[in-house]
Each structure stands twice: as C-alpha cells, then as structure tokens.
Symmetry: C2
C-alpha cells in the first residue's frame, strides 16, 4: 500500500510544478511540446532537422533530458537552437521541477517554440506532466509494428505521432505494417495527428512543419 501512497504524493508535487510551468507558458502564449520515445527512435535527429529547416521562420528552444552526457544538447546547438541540458543522474524521466528550473535559463520571450526532449523511455515519461501543451510520440519503423499495441497508454496521450525512418520501409530488412500501426493508434487515440517521416532524407517533414507552424500560432489548439 505504501507504494501507491508515495506515488500519489510524488505525482501531486510534480503536478504543482507542472501547473506553474503551464501558467508561465500560457501567459506568454508559447507552445511547449514534450517529446517521448524509445531510445534511438530519432527524437534528436527530428529536432535537429526541424530546427535547421525552419531557421529564419521559427526560433526554437530545447530542454534536453538525458540520464548523463550532453551528446544531444550539443547536436541541438549545432543545428542552431538554444539548448539546456538536464541530466537526471539515472532517473528514467524528467520532472516538472527540473523543467521549472530549465525554463528560467531560456529566453522564452524571444522564442516561438519550446521543445522538451524527454529521456529515452516509452513508459515512465508519459506519466509525469511537465506543463507542456501536448505530448509528441516518435516511433521508428525499425522498432516493429507492435509497439502501439504493447505501450498503448503512451500513444493514447499523444497529440501527434511521428512514424520515423520510413526510408527503411520497402527494404528487405524491415517488416513493418504501417496500416496496422495506424489502426492500433486509432483504437486508443482518435485525434492524434500521424506523420510518416524520415528525418534522414526529409521525406514527410513538410507536413510536420505545417502542423508545428499552425500550433505555434495557436498553442491552445493542441
């Protein structure tokens, strides 16, 4: 029993910080995305390409969550965006208190879009609200087409789902039924936007950029 009581208390403290982050961002009318996926699905590659492709059109600030190392923050900075690194020291998700601190280090007023790249983990990060407008889930076709069926609660909470590495489809190496995935997503989430992209080749990224531009224009719409 004690386990559930403590879980409630941790989540309730987290929710207080999340509400405060949400209020801060709403007051400034800024869109904030919480990007969640397995390790290696391509979150950082998608963000780096998005930042580079939208240079001049959209100013992006990124909060990078990692267990240790600043490999991802370096990649984001190289792409041309502000990046704040959070190291969780082994913890499996970002907390709203960590985001609250990181937001103080970002020049929010000068940015159009805030992105939180969560720790690579398809499970725990989906439980902790950070004050974001919405969650974005990335799924690589190399992970297999059963992932929505196996991790439904994460997919259920997403406003947009990017199916990445689609340049691998049609090769002999990958068995991935994209129709099955779309069907599995719709079972748990009727509204999520689904984008089929390759952050490597750029295929399908334009639709994602259009969605981003629309959502930045009206953060309350997502």
């Amino acid at each position: 029993m004690y386990k559930f009581k403590v879980e409630e208390r941790i989540l309730s403290t987290n929710e207080e910080y999340a509400a405060s982050n949400r209020e801060l961002l709403a007051g400034k009318n800024k869109l904030c995305l919480n990007v969640i996926s397995s390790p290696g699905s391509g979150k950082t590659t998608i963000l780096a390409r998005t930042i580079a492709d939208l240079k001049g059109r959209m100013k992006v600030g990124v909060i990078e969550g990692d267990i240790q190392t600043d490999i991802d923050a370096q990649r984001i900075k190289a792409a041309g965006a502000k990046a704040i690194q959070i190291n969780t020291d082994g913890a499996c998700h970002l907390s709203a208190a960590q985001i609250s601190k990181a937001l103080k280090k970002l020049p929010i007023d000068k940015l159009d879009l805030l992105v939180i790249e969560n720790v690579g983990n398809l499970i725990c990060p989906s439980v902790f609200e950070l004050g974001e407008n919405c969650k974005i889930v990335v799924l690589s076709v190399a992970e297999g087409d059963d992932k929505c069926a196996k991790y439904p609660s994460t997919f259920a909470r997403a406003a947009a789902i990017l199916i990445n590495k689609i340049d691998l489809l049609g090769t002999k190496h990958i068995d991935f039924n994209i129709k099955r995935v779309r069907k599995d997503i719709r079972k748990v989430n009727e509204d999520a936007q689904i984008f089929e992209v390759s952050a490597k080749t750029g295929q399908g990224m334009a639709e994602w950029y259009d969605w981003l531009a629309k959502s930045v224009g009206d953060p309350t719409s997502v």
Copy 2:
C-alpha cells in the same frame, strides 16, 4: 528525502525475493538470464530464433514481461518453448516478487535454461535484481551508436551484449559505427561478451548459441 527512503525500502524488499529466487535456481543448477533492452531491439525475435534453432539441444522456459498484452508470449510458445506471461499493468520493469510467482508455474526441473524477457525499457529494469545469474543487453543498430554512452549503467551490468539487426549495416539507411560501440562498452564493462547478430538472417547466432551452451553447462561461470 522520503523519496530515497522509500526507494531503499522497495529495493530491499525486491532484494529479498531476488535472493530467494537465486537460491531456488542455484539449488537446481539452472541458468537464468534477464534480458533487457529498448522496445523494438529484437529481444523476442532473438529468443524465438534461439528456441527454434536449439530445439532438441536445449529446453528453454521463458518468463515474458509486458505492460499489457501477451503478444510476446504467443510468439515464444509458437517457437516451441514454455512461456509464462507477466503483465505489469503499466509498471516499467519486472520485480523479483513477480518472478517468484512465475517460477512456481514453470517445470524448472525439466528445463535447461530460464530466460526472463524484461519490459522494453533500457533504464528501470537494470536496477531491479530478479535472482538471475546475469543480465543480457540487446542493442539494435537501428537505435544508433550512442546508446552505450547515453545509458552506461545498463551496459555496465551486462554479462553479454547482443548487437542485433546487423543485416542493416552497410545499407545507406543506417549510420552505426560498431567500433565506437565496442569502445564505449569497454569503458564501462571490461568483461561482457559482445555478439554481433541478426536474428532475422541468423548471422552471428552460432557464437551466441555456443556461449549459451557453455553457460548452461556451468551457471556459476557467468
């Protein structure tokens, strides 16, 4: 502070069950592996192929950990092994108490090898001992070559690491420097056996089977 106290208590209760599982398996001289990876690295495909290829040579029992669904247990049964499904109902790792219950349902005396396929998560499962002889980590080349650097504590605890989907190497779709990964592994783990395999094509699986046979012959060696 309360967070750490509770974490210690949960881990200490888990360690009691783990010790009891370890004692049970040691008394029967059975090898038990705890397989850990990101979602979609190919754990189930590796196990299913191993079971099918070693039919007649090795009797395998599998404890399948999943958040919900029994998709993986069905695949393991189809490959010809005994499989017990554990659904964690949203939890991000298996616990030793769950393994203790599952072991009671397996005909351990008739098996040569026990495999626990943990929940798809490269972080949390590495903290919870289950009573296994050793941990096996699977990394797919599609996840990228920075994963050992970014999730070192999981790789540090592995007795064997399978680098899977190597049939994708050498295609234009994948940038994966296997030398870098081997170097990163050696920084945190001097002793782990490293296998380069494709569970899809069978490439490299023979060396893994040799290691399995040797380890089944002497579970105290791993």
